[in-house]
Symmetry: C2
Subunit: 212 residues, 2 copies
């Protein structure tokens, strides 16, 4: 933790993984775990686990370790899993539909409330139990429902323009799947870019550099 109390991005990015492993332990009815045991499970050091957790407070107990379900609940609270951030998804192509139907938004603090697509032929089609709406309804929807999270599954060329418009309409958080590095000039907006192409290319590098 830096002196101003803010948590470094490296720590934050590990939290969902802690949360996931603790969930599995809870499912297996494990009640307590030490940083050493957890470190073996997650393949990191016990030191790092203790450092990470202590950014947020003393969740453990000397001589005992950590209470699994308690710790999980605390991390969940930090992440915001109990929130119900209203969420919209733009772009109902293959990927958009897959994200809409495959991801459990609720368990991650978000509620997917609407899906939009520029192609009028898709209007009325449903994904899960949500109808696909035309993009010209985005504005009215945002004014009425005030969503704060937007999932972007749209082509590169359209991304920045739509994102800027969405910021004006009150969107505060972007989950961006487009082949474009979204960055927002406004303060107080968060962006999570997912570049699947870059991820595959990293794998290709790995495959290309295996020792024979």
């Amino acid at each position: 933790m830096s002196k101003d109390g803010s948590i470094s991005a490296s720590v934050i990015k590990r939290l969902p993984r802690y949360y996931r492993f603790l969930g599995e332990l809870e499912n297996k009815k494990v009640e307590r775990i030490s940083s050493r045991e957890l470190s073996e499970l997650m393949k990191l050091t016990a030191s790092q686990i203790r450092q990470d957790l202590n950014c947020f407070g003393g969740f453990g107990q000397q001589g005992y370790g950590y209470h699994v379900s308690e710790l999980r609940k605390e991390i969940g609270k930090i992440l915001g899993v109990d929130k119900r951030f209203r969420t919209i998804l733009i772009g109902a192509g293959n990927l958009g539909k897959a994200i809409a139907s495959h991801i459990n938004f609720e368990s991650r603090g978000c509620v997917l409330e609407a899906i939009f697509d520029a192609n009028p032929k898709l209007t009325g089609e449903t994904v899960g139990d949500l109808p696909i709406r035309p993009t010209d309804e985005i504005e009215r929807f945002c004014l009425e429902r005030k969503p704060v999270v937007a999932v972007l599954c749209i082509p590169k060329a359209a991304t920045q323009e739509i994102a800027d418009k969405l910021v004006e309409l009150g969107i505060k958080a972007f989950w961006n799947f487009s082949h474009y590095d979204l960055s927002i000039d406004h303060d107080n907006i968060v962006v999570e870019n997912v570049h699947l192409g870059d991820s595959l290319l990293t794998l290709t590098y790995g495959a290309n550099n295996l020792t024979e």
Copy 2:
């Protein structure tokens, strides 16, 4: 670069992004670029760019900068974009279908050759121009075609078992979308885990911690 000549993961993970930005510059007919100009575009430091590129060799020219298309070609070669790694995809649910049809494998050194799914009802259905095959054909396919990359879009519970089997069948690289941290005990195998749920949760943390 460390003394043994190996490149750190932090550098590798930036390469696809360099490659992407250089591609866009090439499309815009930009011939040369300095580390300073590129740093402004990509929002990193010029120092870092020069350090990163020099892990692989002197691609620039003093007083001039870097030749865009030449540099892109070099990075592409390092990544392996000109390879044709034979690739199979397991799990033709929403996400598997979306990955199969949405991702350009060829431009990233991979050729998607087959799609498998455990559900016999999907057998024969096509995704793009590939038929979905039953999983019991995986073994024969691997013995015949010797694929090296596997994309896993299967449930958590099945992942480790299938991955172990695939390793025996000669798969060397895994692009894993399952809700499971795949790690392979064998040497000389590379894994790229994509945890979309963790990514959304990181965004939720961000949304949850915006200053009001």
